[in-house]
Symmetry: C2
Subunit: 687 residues, 2 copies
């Protein structure tokens, strides 16, 4: 029953095992040498020993984000989001669930079946935050919480506060595996544990995770005749197990991840379940994205992780097929995915509704994490373009500017008078401080906390620059030569980026500069000399001998584009979206100089833009913490009377087009000034 | 805690009670006298004594549908649908659930919590069918099933096969009331029982229903200090209780219906539950349609029934507000309602997606039943227009032409390559013989079986003619004068209708002729003489002295219309729908003379129609059991290459418009030739 992929990779992993025979460094090691295996040197994911990773991650702590676009977001994350989310977790009994099992609380179990994961995801956000910020109090508070968590672990290694007492017999039953989220919780425990370990060297939570896997999971679940079947009802454990393998060198974790990705035929599953869970049949048999979007994205993360370690070409083929499906049929212009509210699911090809867009924050994050892995496997900038689209737009929209409220859904149009609520937002608001299913808030927090880790990669040839913001990287090339890169830029508002590249010792290597796919005209100069061969949507490899303070000056094309969607996207027909640089814009009712009355405002489609006019961009330092705004000539369409719901096409409906100027703001900043009508896709005047 | 409405109506109901003092006729009575209160003389609902019903129903059996549009549908319903659905019910353990409790089956409980209602709804379909068809075997089979059902009734009157054994303590707990469907099942039991009683006079199931209400429900649930709270988690019991009041004359049933419609403040409900269930707060406080569409429609039926008996103006005001919301914002051009799959719910105003339309068959049926009650209360043809739109299109689409498969969802566009499945259609097909939640199939069967009951009404002034098809009515006016009306017509394919009106004794009265709202030009002649004052969307009252064989000749305008939707319906922008007479059309890929290749066919939006061309209608007797087809000039848009998911509006996308002729079929007949791409709203060429 062992999937063929494992067998194929035996030679590779055998070699890998010998490589891993070296004793791991003690957690308190301060060794920063270039080939150190220490906890401090690992990136968002640790690809340092992954044989099929063309690019290697750079530690989060190696990159310091300075004043610029991401800095206020990250400061707010640390100062407001992470502490207020802790308060919310406590207020909603998420720690009491653990304390009760220790006899320290008499509160009843609270929250859905996956509530333990809320703590683990928050701990992961803390772990990433502590990798760049010295916060002794946060560190100690979190360590204390982790001690309470670990205290509830059973001698068998089992750890879950929901499947206790009367529910104990349900543990890991097949029905529980498909819907009970036990392994989902452990996956998040492991990810949180690893982020904390990489921040502080503290193995407390990590060891608990290992005890679960070694003591409870591996002996009882797997292909063996005395083992029971295993399925990830909500994928997450796969990528966690691969990261545990990367962290410990223990191949058994990689094997189990592969086994889960292959699916266990002993578990009876309906086709609908296999589609919805995105697990339970061989991952390599998938041909399209479907089912629950977060599940599918996490499964793709795990599968790419598995490929990065094994090089299994069947996985790589499937992953590329799925990525084509993503980018050809399923991706919102904001980088959101999972269009359908019912089942929080991927829809049909081109099913991309606007007001009813689900676009769960977690799904966009999972999509970005998957593309990060695809980028590492390939070194191709098309993946970075997708990462950037999601990060700056459909993920960035998920957290309010003050860092205390969050979007679960990220629609592309909004009518505040409408029935906008969903099961997760009982108050009908789009931004809320808490959801009973509170996956998105800590997921957003971990993403902003880990952003520095997405700026650079290294390869045997040199260094890759993926993202642009004022920042300083201090890391090294594969040969150990120290490397500092300073970025000075007004990105994403400005297209000018200045890099100062300073190897410790002058050396010949390549700096791979990402030329964004959206930038039509680009120029790159090194120490004032133009570089040829710059192509949008690719990495420009600048091979040369680099010395301290070499300067790279880039200029990207910040022309605002109106985008059309494929005609098959029915809701976007006759509409355009505005994009300038990586930023996708939207119009909110509140900003329009000639506002419709309140009744008409709920549906903004009475506004229309002129296709043949040009857009004026203006930075407004006082608006929404400082944003670029767009102004574009358009009209307000007034009709003499409501034509009714349906009317003959031959009927004369008197319409009047009143000239106006439409004002747009970045999509990520919407809904920060109370509920207001919003749309990304704006009707255009037919000519 | 008794809602004020009850108190207001005490005088009316007191008078009513004295009227009802007459002993009911024995079930085997053959008395057909004009003022008989016998079971045989009641209509789809019995409004004969409803003080606020301007129109009175005509018995289903009084109208014989002859060869024409509805005849094959109704024959198939009786010959195929009802028998095959019985087999499905048996195969899926729905009768075993009862037999088990009698010790006659060892099968475990099967099906969801509301599975008893499947039997009751099917029994209701049989009841209506037996009102016009003499089917001794079906009658006896059904009676035998009913005997098994009734045998499981407990001495307390309680009857439900799900809340037994371990689940007994959950009975009527507040959580169970909101989601356990006990009263929903009893509501359907009562409706099924009344339909059977009105067919055969057999009171077996009716008496069981009365025992439940009298023995179990009324003593324990209600406003009294020793009673517990009551809420309809899925409205249905309200209209069933009013019909039970109409059938028995017992005012207590009407009072309980009013109490449930008012809501019981003692039951703690979240705002979301109150919205979703459409129950739990005063019905008269509602201002819009929201939540689960079938629940909302059934609640509106119950509330209108309550108004018909009490005349409570607060109800009438609310009902009209909700109807405006329905027709201004929420109604598909097919007559479907409940746009949103998530929660099977009404969406925001103008949220009317096409491919993702939910449009559950049951919701359209509930919507038609509500409009039937509004029509009775008002005598206004705008309600009949809505009834006709739903009946001929969005309800009619719910059953396959062979009568053995059913739509749960009724989308307005379909892509067979897509992920069309929903939780109710595990195989991903749009028409299925069985759903685990099998509400729609028997609901469609009862609708087709009861269609004759919707053709006519009477009032003190005369007779109303609502629907047109070859048929013969044999009934009487309020003064007892016998009345026969013969219809001869090719409706809905032809606009010519000939009525032969024959009172038993020549008399002065009015024939109210419905002039459909879609018909722009109309002519009406009586015995060859034109009648003036004919207005579309109204009843034309022809007051005169009528004698045997008086002839009314009507001609409606069968010009095909292209309809546009309100611009706020984002998915319909730049598209038109075709309607001819009451029939809404669609295009299926299979019919197009110049078909796109298979890959492009899944999204039909490459086809476009010319707005300024005229449509050719042609009857095809060999297609889909005989349908009118439409042909309209259009184009196929071919683009040089896939422009991608998003592309700059300024990009030159080479498109070629290839002239073609689009062919359309009636929407109700779609998906009868295997899965094929379909769309109701077709793009038009911008001029």
């Amino acid at each position: 029953m062992i999937p063929p992929a494992i067998a194929h990779t035996q030679p590779a992993t055998a070699g890998l095992l010998s490589l891993l025979a070296a004793t791991p460094q003690p957690p308190d090691s301060q060794n920063e040498s270039s080939h150190s295996q220490a906890w401090k040197d690992s990136g968002v994911i640790d690809l340092s020993r992954s044989p099929h990773a063309k690019l290697k991650t750079v530690p989060v702590r190696a990159v310091t984000i300075q004043e610029g676009f991401w800095s206020p977001r990250r400061k707010t994350n640390l100062a407001s989001s992470i502490p207020t989310m802790r308060n919310e977790l406590l207020a909603h009994g998420r720690m009491d669930n653990f304390l009760r099992l220790e006899g320290k609380s008499s509160a009843p179990q609270k929250g859905p079946v996956y509530s333990d994961s809320d703590i683990y995801k928050w701990a992961e956000a803390v772990g990433f935050a502590l990798q760049t910020a010295d916060q002794p109090q946060l560190r100690e508070t979190t360590a204390a919480m982790i001690r309470e968590v670990v205290a509830t672990q059973e001698p068998s290694g089992y750890l879950n506060t929901y499947y206790v007492d009367d529910r104990k017999p349900l543990r890991m039953q097949y029905d529980t595996q498909t819907s009970g989220h036990e392994l989902y919780c452990i996956g998040h425990l492991l990810q949180g544990a690893i982020a904390c370990y990489r921040a502080t060297g503290d193995r407390t939570l990590l060891d608990a995770g290992i005890r679960f896997v070694d003591g409870f999971l591996l002996p009882n679940y797997g292909p063996g005749p005395n083992q029971k079947g295993i399925v990830a009802g909500h994928p997450e454990i796969e990528m966690a197990l691969v990261e545990l393998y990367r962290t410990t060198g223990e191949q058994k974790y990689l094997q189990l991840a592969g086994y889960i990705l292959h699916g266990d035929e002993r578990i009876p599953l309906r086709p609908q379940q296999i589609a919805y869970m995105y697990c339970g049949s061989p991952f390599t048999s998938r041909t399209r994205l479907e089912g629950h979007a977060v599940r599918a994205m996490y499964a793709c993360c795990g599968a790419t992780d598995y490929y990065l370690e094994t090089g299994d070409q069947a996985y790589w083929k499937t992953l590329n097929t799925l990525w084509d499906d993503l980018t050809r049929h399923q991706l919102y212009v904001t980088g959101g995915v999972g269009a359908r509210e019912a089942g929080e699911a991927f829809g049909d090809p081109y099913e991309l509704p606007n007001a009813r867009a689900y676009g769960e924050s977690c799904a966009a994050i999972g999509m970005m994490m998957w593309n990060w892995r695809m980028l590492a496997a390939s070194g191709e900038a098309r993946f970075t373009d997708v990462i950037e689209r999601a990060l700056y737009n459909g993920i960035n929209s998920g957290m309010s500017l003050d860092g205390t409220t969050y979007c679960y859904r990220n629609p592309l149009a909004f009518d505040p008078s409408g029935n906008a609520s969903d099961r997760n937002a009982p108050e009908g608001l789009i931004r809320n401080p808490w959801y009973d299913t509170t996956c998105c808030p800590p997921n957003l927090e971990r993403t902003f906390a880990s952003v520095p880790g997405y700026f650079y990669s290294t390869s045997p040839k040199g260094v890759y620059v993926h993202l642009y913001d004022n920042s300083e990287m201090n890391w090294h090339l594969h040969d150990g030569n120290g490397l500092k890169i300073q970025q000075a830029t007004g990105y994403p508002w400005s297209g000018q980026v200045k890099l100062t590249v300073s190897p410790a010792t002058p050396a010949e290597f390549a700096v791979f500069l990402r030329i964004p796919g959206w930038s039509a005209k680009n120029s790159v100069k090194v120490n004032g000399t133009p570089v040829n061969g710059v192509r949008a949507g690719e990495y420009l490899a600048v091979h040369r001998k680099w010395s301290a303070n070499d300067v790279v000056e880039m200029e990207f094309d910040m022309t605002t584009h109106m985008l059309k969607a494929n005609p098959a996207v029915t809701e976007d027909r006759g509409r355009v979206a505005f994009q300038r640089g990586p930023i996708v814009f939207c119009m909110e009712h509140i900003d329009q100089p000639d506002r419709l009355d309140r009744a008409s405002a709920t549906n903004l489609s009475a506004y229309a833009v002129h296709l043949d006019a040009s857009t004026n961009a203006r930075f407004d330092a006082n608006l929404l913490d400082g944003v670029m705004t767009l102004e574009h000539p358009g009209t307000i369409r007034r009709t003499s009377a409501d034509p009714g719901l349906y009317y003959p096409a031959s009927a004369a409906v008197e319409t009047q087009e009143i000239p106006t100027t439409l004002k747009l703001i970045p999509y990520y900043a919407w809904a920060n000034r109370g509920p207001a009508a919003m749309q990304v896709w704006i009707p255009y005047l037919q000519v």
